[in-house]
């Protein structure tokens, strides 16, 4: 595989990661969200494998494998089990309507492109062009957390944000040191478990997962 082709492939995967971020925003069914999230993880792991191969960095293979294991198989499975167990209503309920969210998303992409321009100028890595995509993925994940009602969708948004950060690390510096990555992976796993417990608790307390209900927690003034 020549350098040129791997750049093309990596860019292609970056584009698909961006697409999955938008798909997460557009999806109306919770199961659909899980599938898209798994795809995003898959593209991510493929991209880091390519970077590992091209730049010849061994530990990135480990990250790639870890991503594949955690984000494509384990986390979606945990969430799937959770949704099934709690018998959650399967429609995503947006706070802001979906087309508007999309337009905001496009604006965020342009913004992050604008923001990462100086880095692109300075960096010499072949992955530098994907940094804008990584940043947009983070911002779009954040946007998803803001504009959705349900706790489960927010968890997925959070995980998508983490995907973006991971991708940013790969594209800006060819990934973080292995120790850090392992730590992050563990964190994510634990976070998912804690989220699971939280969601369960919210559900038992309020009888719903609608986060607007949390407003009731504040003191009446």
């Amino acid at each position: 595989m020549t350098h040129g082709i791997s750049i093309q492939l990596n860019n292609f995967l970056a584009a698909f990661i961006l697409l999955t971020s938008f798909a997460l925003l557009a999806q109306r069914r919770i199961y659909g969200l899980l599938v898209i999230f798994a795809w995003q993880g898959f593209f991510l792991s493929l991209s880091s494998a390519i970077v590992a191969y091209t730049a010849d960095i061994r530990h990135l293979y480990v990250s790639a494998a870890l991503t594949l294991l955690l984000k494509v198989i384990v986390l979606p499975y945990i969430l799937y089990a959770l949704i099934n167990k709690l018998n959650i209503f399967r429609e995503v309920e947006p706070l802001v309507n979906i087309p508007t969210t999309m337009l905001i998303g496009v604006a965020l992409v342009i913004f992050s492109y604008h923001l990462t321009a100086p880095v692109r100028e300075l960096s010499t890595l072949f992955t530098r062009t994907t940094l804008a995509v990584a940043l947009s993925t983070v911002l779009l994940g954040f946007l998803m957390m803001i504009t959705r009602k349900k706790a489960v969708t927010q968890v997925i948004g959070f995980l998508a944000m983490e995907n973006g950060l991971f991708f940013a690390a790969t594209s800006a510096t060819y990934g973080m040191p292995l120790v850090v990555e392992l730590g992050v992976a563990l964190d994510i796993l634990i976070a998912a478990l804690i989220f699971g417990i939280f969601i369960f608790q919210i559900r038992t307390t309020f009888d719903t997962l609608d986060l607007t209900e949390m407003e009731k927690l504040k003191e009446d003034s």
Binding site: V106, I110, Y113, H114, A117
Partner: protein, 691 residues
């Protein structure tokens, strides 16, 4: 193209145009003396105006074609500041537009104004109509601030009286008031802008020489003051052009005026504002900052989209046309904004492309909007109806008007082979060249603007499918529309000519671009005339044949030949045609009321773009039918669409003015001594200040 300039015959173009202006002014002043024999007078009077307009058109057309510039001095006016007159390709272009439309409208007016005889005294129209045209041409000819503003005011005041013409309707009085207020806010802003530019010139402030455009042109402007001057001029001219959010007067005033005047106001008067923006930004201030272009582009896009959305939901034919003018001014501004951006980045050829698109659209809009307003006037004349909900089926009674209106609708919907498409296509080409800009931010954002313009183009087609479909097609929705009649010949000719021009402008774009090449050279120092016809006269290739090409003659020829061949082949074999009632699902008894009407046609757009409107929709149901309680009884639906900007921008200002008024009212006592005391205090304060 180098047209044989009249100068070879020893005649100055400027003098010819000025002569026709004088003729128009004279017509206005003589008109009151003829109020006894109105019918005879109308048949004589409007042809004279048409002739004057035509002379002015011919002179300016030739002047633009040969690209000459003439300066002229009239020793009248203020002491030390004679009227400076200048005919250059820019003013010549707009004089051509204005006087060509005036020519058509004046022919139309012969028949149209006669319909007022016996209902209204026509002397008001007879006085102010020629003054209005003269004012526009004077504005365009002016080469100093005073003469410009004089022409501007003649134009504004005379059009105010024309809007007020049917003053028995209180709505029209309100529209005229709103119009005159907005016109003067705009004029004030323009005056300030001129003052800033003149002040910066710094030459001959004692002798008023700073107020000539020549002095302003050569003055060196600091970026800040140049920005201030631009902003003031943009607000002032924008108010006249009706850009969002300064557009509120337009949908009130244009429909209120008699239709021939609406045609002139929409087709010609708005163009003088476009001219003003071009003159100030390109010719005088030389587009020194990037944000000017960005601002013009954004405002243009906003006007285009808002204008067309309001046009779609409108039920009044003339108001629909007025809102569509807002849209078209937006498209012109988009072209200008792009031209300014390209100019700033030193890309003269692309800037020439964009500015040609804008100028071309200005010319086109004058033709088809004039035509459409005249068409609406014919409908009004035949049915006394502006509300489309009561129209329908007019195509059977008004064959000419409907065919001509359809031509106008095709032009304005940017469909080939008519002219609207050429200018929109050029604008899109300018958009498509934006990736060659060196600014990354603009690279990403400008394509979104192009998408917005595309949305506008089809929405406007949608609005005109509605306008034509609801008013001319289908079955008559009211009795007076079923009994409509065709307009007199003069009106038909007045409409037919611009329709032909629309088609010609659409089919021979490269000749038109050739003709206006001197204007674009004056503005941006470059022209696309050479590259546009580089592939042969029949092809329009704005930058290069490799880049994009369009050939209206080929398309037209192709479509017509297919049409003819198919028609002949199919008619070789005679199949009978039986007239039958339309399909009624077997229930029987279709009534005209069951047709889709204007409100229902616009319903999807209202729903999707509901955010942009202030909608008030109510459905009242009498719960049960009297005899059979299983069915609901009478239902009543009412819908009110309001302009969002009115509440957002204007109501606060109006409220503030009233509050100020109440405050100042406290100074009023009605006692003469108090007033004298005020004067006394003022004198004392002034004396102190002098000290």
């Amino acid at each position: 193209m180098s047209a044989p300039a009249l100068t070879t015959l020893g005649v100055s173009h400027t003098e010819i145009i000025l002569t026709s202006v004088c003729a128009l002014l004279l017509c206005g002043f003589l008109a009151p003396f003829f109020h006894n024999r109105e019918k005879f007078f109308t048949s004589l009077f409007f042809p004279v105006i048409a002739l004057a307009s035509f002379v002015s058109f011919a002179a300016s057309f030739l002047a633009v074609g040969s690209g000459l510039t003439e300066n002229y001095l009239i020793s009248a006016g203020l002491p030390g500041l004679p009227f400076h007159v200048r005919l250059d390709p820019l003013s010549g272009f707009f004089i051509t537009v204005v006087s060509l439309l005036s020519f058509f409208v004046s022919i139309y007016s012969v028949g149209y104004v006669k319909t007022f005889i016996g209902r209204q005294p026509i002397s008001v129209i007879a006085v102010f109509y020629p003054l209005f045209i003269a004012g526009m041409i004077m504005t365009l000819l002016a080469n100093d601030a005073f003469f410009f503003l004089m022409g501007w005011e003649v134009m504004a005041i005379s059009s105010y009286f024309l809007v007020l013409y049917e003053d028995r309707n209180p709505k029209n009085r309100r529209a005229a008031l709103l119009y005159v207020v907005m016109a003067h806010v705009g004029a004030l802003s323009i005056l300030l802008s001129f003052a800033v530019m003149a002040g910066l010139g710094g030459v001959g402030q004692e002798t008023f020489q700073g107020y000539t455009f020549d002095a302003m042109r050569s003055a060196s402007h600091t970026p800040f003051w140049a920005g201030v001057a631009f902003l003031l001029a943009f607000v002032g001219f924008g108010a006249k052009a009706g850009v969002v959010p300064l557009h509120v007067w337009l949908p009130e005033a244009h429909p209120a005026a008699p239709s021939n005047v609406s045609a002139l106001m929409s087709g010609a008067m708005l163009k003088t504002a476009v001219y003003g923006i071009l003159r100030v930004t390109f010719d005088i201030l030389h587009v020194s900052q990037l944000w000017w272009g960005e601002l013009v582009l954004i405002v243009g896009l906003l006007s285009a989209i808002m204008g067309v959305l309001y046009a779609i939901v409108e039920n009044d034919l003339k108001r629909l046309l007025a809102y569509s003018s807002v849209e078209n001014i937006g498209i012109i501004l988009v072209g200008m904004g792009l031209a300014m951006i390209f100019y700033f980045f030193h890309m003269p050829l692309l800037s020439a492309l964009a500015v040609t698109a804008a100028l071309y659209h200005a010319l086109n809009h004058a033709m088809f909007k004039g035509l459409l307003f005249m068409g609406a006037g014919s409908v009004l004349h035949a049915t006394n109806e502006r509300n489309m909900e009561n129209m329908g089926g007019l195509i059977h009674k008004m064959k000419w008007t409907s065919a001509i209106f359809l031509a106008g609708a095709l032009s304005i919907s940017a469909l080939p082979p008519f002219n609207g498409f050429v200018s929109e296509w050029l604008t899109f080409q300018a958009f498509l060249m934006s990736p060659s800009l060196t600014s990354q931010r603009l690279n990403l954002l400008i394509p979104l603007g192009a998408a917005l313009l595309a949305l506008t183009a089809v929405l406007s087609a949608s609005a005109f499918v509605k306008a034509f479909g609801v008013s001319f097609l289908g079955q008559a929705r009211s009795k007076h529309c079923a009994e409509a009649h065709e307009s007199p010949w003069s009106m038909r000719i007045g409409m037919l000519l611009p329709a032909v021009v629309c088609l010609l402008l659409g089919v021979f774009p490269s000749s038109v671009i050739n003709w206006m090449s001197s204007t674009s050279s004056l503005l941006v120092g470059e022209t696309i005339a050479k590259s546009a016809s580089g592939f042969g006269w029949a092809w329009l290739t704005p930058v290069a044949a490799q880049r994009a090409s369009y050939s209206a003659p080929m398309l037209l020829l192709g479509i017509i030949s297919v049409l003819v061949i198919v028609f002949i082949t199919l008619h070789a074999r005679k199949n009978a045609i039986h007239r039958v009632p339309p399909w009624d699902c077997g229930y029987g008894g279709l009534t005209p009321r069951m047709q889709y009407n204007s409100t229902s046609f616009a319903m999807p757009s209202r729903l999707i773009f509901g955010f942009f409107f202030r909608l008030k929709e109510t459905v009242k149901t009498d719960l049960f039918h009297k005899r059979s309680p299983a069915f609901p009884g009478k239902m009543k639906y009412s819908l009110r669409v309001r302009d969002r900007f009115w509440g957002l921008l204007y109501m606060p200002v109006i409220d503030a003015v009233f509050r100020m008024g109440k405050l100042t009212a406290k100074l009023q006592h009605g006692r003469i001594h108090i007033y004298l005391a005020y004067s006394f205090a003022t004198v004392i304060i002034l004396l102190l200040m002098v000290l």
